[in-house]
Symmetry: C2
Subunit: 623 residues, 2 copies
């Protein structure tokens, strides 16, 4: 038996190529021998920092170069520089595919290029001398490798720079200065003494009409460190965008008030996620914000009146990159804020964020995206062409205008299905039933359609008419204040404090909403010249879209009847898309292209819409 140390085997992923390690050869050399490409520009000099790989196995400890270039978080995650690392046993080397990142959010995983807009770069500055009298800024730019293409520079940086790179007595410590530059795209926004690489954070916000969510991300790694959400405080001035816009038109300080409310809420969410992650808001250098057009206009204090009045014109659609302080956000004084672009007044940046996740503009066959909320925004298309529209679905998907309706909160009936000839309900958090939320309503109406409690026109049948109904269902049809109702839950049942029923008016409310959505889908199909059956995939976005049961949605005619496997929920895709914009300049550019790619169809001016709407009000025939 040989007692030689076994030669380590190095495996490169994703190619799977292997090569035996040899004395002292570092991973970059081995990769070159194996014919595997690892990006680098300094050929192993340890200066470019581009040959990052992820290692699993036994390797030499991090060198000084690596400790300077990589963050502790990166090193802890196995990130190393290939030119600095020598195998000390079998080793798997994962080579970044264009630094691809993926984000996992409520079951959805999207891969994208990891290229945060804001990045920190550690620099080492040689002390000036009579032979090298470069100005402080030029010295810094040279160390950054930007001597001839000076980026835009903030005045605050110039004011801080001299003391940042010098000791209090005005000298360079030990003949050089360690500092960290903060770059936002081509703009040099800050410089900090020492190596502060590990502290580089950003926050993505999804501003919904009802709910606001903030995601704190590490801009070095893409890791999500904390999430916080709260109700949008503007709701006190109106549950929907139109009411809020009206407020700004009727109250002299209405616009300012709504702006102040949302800015304060974003700042308190910032405090909350930072506190949870143990960092300071001053460590936050970038924001990415998604939300509908009105929400983003209100955040910036822009006139919203013309969004509400025909022909529905926003102030701005294009993406905006602004100083966060100008937006009013409390973070690093030079932090930036990116607002995703919107497509139209009623197909906003939230839908653009959805599309970053759904990517239907890259699909070979037509895909449908629906974001359910007070408005139902609909996008249909493929790589050839993408069209979008917005329908005024009304608040019923969020429990609004429904007799026993409530938001999807504890105690809401969220699921209704048939079991042993009677219906069976489930509530959120298993709490005693207090009301019915959007998903429960659609389940209930789907059951009513399927069982024959209501006919195709939406009329609740008199118990006498519904003689073929199972008795347990038939007895739930009872007279109400205004016509018949279908009782979902009697008082006392499962601990319910009061009766929960679907009234004839509730059914009409849902018919209006689902009819509007389906009519929108049909107009878009007509625009693309396809039949609804040709839709290859359906993406459901928004909190409601995340919980809806596709079979119920089809049963009531809210979405086209398609094989169930073609329907997929994206969860809160707007929040996911905002995070992608925070972590990726490529995704920001993609969002900007989407603004020009997606063609908005204004339904209020479209002669097809009223006809489709009248037809879509009916329920599908019983199956």
């Amino acid at each position: 038996m040989s007692n030689h140390t076994p030669i380590p085997i190095v495996t490169f992923l994703p190619s799977g190529r292997t090569i035996p390690g040899c004395d002292g050869a570092h991973v970059l050399q081995l990769a070159q021998e194996a014919g595997v490409s690892i990006p680098h520009t300094c050929n192993g000099a340890g200066t470019c920092g581009k040959c990052t790989v992820v290692l699993r196995g036994s390797a030499s400890p991090p060198t000084e170069v690596e400790l300077r270039i990589l963050s502790p978080a990166q090193i802890a995650a196995g990130v190393r520089l290939a030119c600095q690392t020598v195998p000390q046993g079998d080793l798997t080397v994962l080579i970044h595919d264009h630094a691809a990142a993926s984000i996992l959010s409520e079951g959805v995983s999207v891969r994208f290029r990891f290229s945060p807009y804001v990045r920190k770069v550690p620099v080492s500055l040689a002390a000036p001398s009579l032979d090298d009298q470069s100005a402080d800024l030029e010295r810094l730019l040279k160390a950054l490798g930007l001597p001839n293409r000076p980026p835009q520079v903030d005045l605050s940086l110039l004011r801080a720079l001299p003391s940042c790179i010098r000791t209090p007595d005005g000298a360079f410590a030990r003949g050089k200065a360690e500092a960290t530059a903060v770059l936002a795209g081509n703009r040099l926004i800050a410089v900090e003494p020492g190596n502060t690489l590990t502290s580089c954070h950003g926050i993505a916000f999804d501003i919904g009409t009802t709910t606001v969510v903030g995601y704190l991300l590490d801009l070095n790694t893409g890791t999500r460190l904390a999430v916080a959400s709260d109700l949008n405080p503007q709701a006190n001035y109106g549950a929907d965008v139109i009411t809020r816009i009206t407020h700004t038109m009727q109250e002299p300080n209405g616009l300012q008030r709504l702006r102040d409310l949302i800015v304060a809420k974003l700042n308190s969410l910032t405090e909350q996620v930072c506190s949870e992650a143990g960092i300071s808001p001053a460590d936050v250098y970038d924001f990415a914000v998604a939300g509908n057009t009105t929400m983003l206009h209100l955040l910036l204090g822009l006139e919203v009146r013309n969004i509400a009045l025909a022909p529905y014109i926003p102030v701005v659609s294009q993406p905006l990159e602004l100083p966060a302080a100008e937006v009013g956000l409390h973070a690093h004084p030079q932090a930036r804020a990116f607002l995703l672009p919107s497509i139209a007044s009623y197909v906003g940046a939230d839908i653009v964020a959805d599309l970053l996740v759904a990517r239907i503009h890259r699909e070979p066959r037509p895909c449908l995206l629906i974001d359910f909320g007070t408005n139902g925004e609909i996008v249909l298309g493929s790589k050839d062409r993408v069209v979008a529209c917005a329908t005024a679905a009304g608040p019923c998907f969020e429990g609004g205008n429904i007799s026993c309706g409530m938001r999807a909160a504890s105690g809401a009936v969220s699921s209704v299905h048939l079991h042993d000839d009677d219906l069976h309900i489930e509530t959120i958090a298993g709490a005693p039933p207090k009301g019915i939320c959007g998903t429960g309503l659609i389940d209930a109406v789907a059951l009513m359609v399927a069982a024959g409690v209501i006919d195709e026109t939406g009329r609740i049948l008199d118990p006498d008419e519904a003689s073929d109904l199972p008795q347990p269902l038939r007895r739930r049809i009872r007279p109400g204040d205004r016509g018949l109702k279908f009782v979902i839950c009697d008082p006392g049942e499962l601990g319910a404090p009061a009766e929960i029923a679907v009234t004839q008016r509730d059914v009409r409310e849902l018919q209006n909403a689902k009819g509007a959505v389906m009519a929108g889908i049909r107009v878009l199909c007509s625009e693309l010249g396809i039949a609804a059956e040709e839709i290859d995939r359906v993406f459901l976005a928004g909190a409601f879209g995340n919980y809806i049961r596709p079979e119920s949605a089809m049963a009531v005619g809210l979405i086209p009847e398609l094989p169930l496997k073609r329907v997929r929920s994206l969860g809160n895709a707007a929040g996911t898309g905002a995070q992608m914009a925070l972590l990726s300049v490529s995704e920001r550019r993609r969002a900007e292209r989407l603004l020009r790619t997606v063609q908005y169809v204004e339904l209020s001016g479209d002669p097809r819409f009223p006809m489709e709407y009248a037809e879509a009000m009916y329920f599908p025939a019983r199956r």
Copy 2:
């Protein structure tokens, strides 16, 4: 005799080509027929506005298109669009040569490309409709011809935009909106209702250690509307830059105080020139600022300590383009401010501005530029190579440290020359002599050298030694408190209240100063490997440089002995250069290139300097 209307003759300048006008053909067509090129991009559609020419003669009245695109000032000056104008008699058409402009300042005329950084563009926006729901900003960008390359946009513009293009009731008046966009380079900084083209102004500042000058220019025409100057109020905290820097190091709020003083002074000069021209500071959209490195650092509130301490490092050399409000300047809220680049701590943006005027970097043979002040900045070179240095000349050129010295103000002896064997003096404004200023001192010492009052070492001869002196001069050599003095003016002479004399110490002071300047020139010659006699032209800049008599400067050895016609005064070239930067993006780029072209030679670290200095202390041999 024929009574036909004579066919009008159209003459194009500068080519001189002529062509007969024919029925209805506009000037652009005639130019094309004559083979004369007039720049345009819309081929006569009247949309590009690029075919501007200057007409003299009889032509059709301005069209609606012209009234929209051209300012009344332009039309009044004969500027017309070639595609809109039909000859109605003999006509001379001056075609702009790349829209060249020239600036005349104290006798110096420099031609450069007229291309102001800030420009106004009138736009006409079609009213939105359900068929054209572009956002307000996108509508504006489209009207500007920038639909696909959105410029950077300020938030304040977005806030103002909707009401700017709408009537108070929210509609577009008569189906369209007239507005004026204000562009600063690629940035859309403001939009104004209606056509405000005629009101577009900028201010150039030259911040000297002693004096500050502001020039108000019309950015449409380049016309100078007003000039104002005042003393630099920082002078209360030190006459020279070193004293002021020391103040910032010794007083906790010293930097802030000096900054506040200069900002307040620039604002009061702004008020002054605007009031003189009958405009509001809110009509000022751009600033260009020249000044030495310390002055510009103090204006921005940047640390100046390291400028004073070896190795003399400024915070920034490169040009800066900042929001004027951030600098503290009161003007249009979105006005910009451009600070010219500097070459080194002691060769500042004032010298870069000088070089925009002198252009020695384009000369085939070596040229010398000297800007006289407390420091003498020296630039030597040609298109092949340019080198620069700074010498601590001391304040004697401004009358400082001279026993009877004073600034070049009323009553200062500014000229001294020999007349009928005695000296003859002139004072500024012809007022009774109160003291002697820099030019007077140099004249006096030149005379003393030429006549033999002092020897080559600078020693004032005893009257007994100077026996070959004419008696009137000899009697002016008298004993003073510390050695001999040479009396320029006795009390009572020309109404002088007291004696004015040049003392032995005054001569030594001048020797130090002129020795330093000449040593600097010699080191630069040595750097370029040329002899001083090879210098093709000498440019003298700065107020002192404007008034100095070249023959006296040569006689005392302040500048090399060369044929007099090679010496030229540029006047206040720094102020002229600042105005060029205000009126021309090309000149801004040239300034930025100069920063990289000109090589700074640090005299304090140069072994050649002390030797040259010792030698240059002597006076030239008597001629």
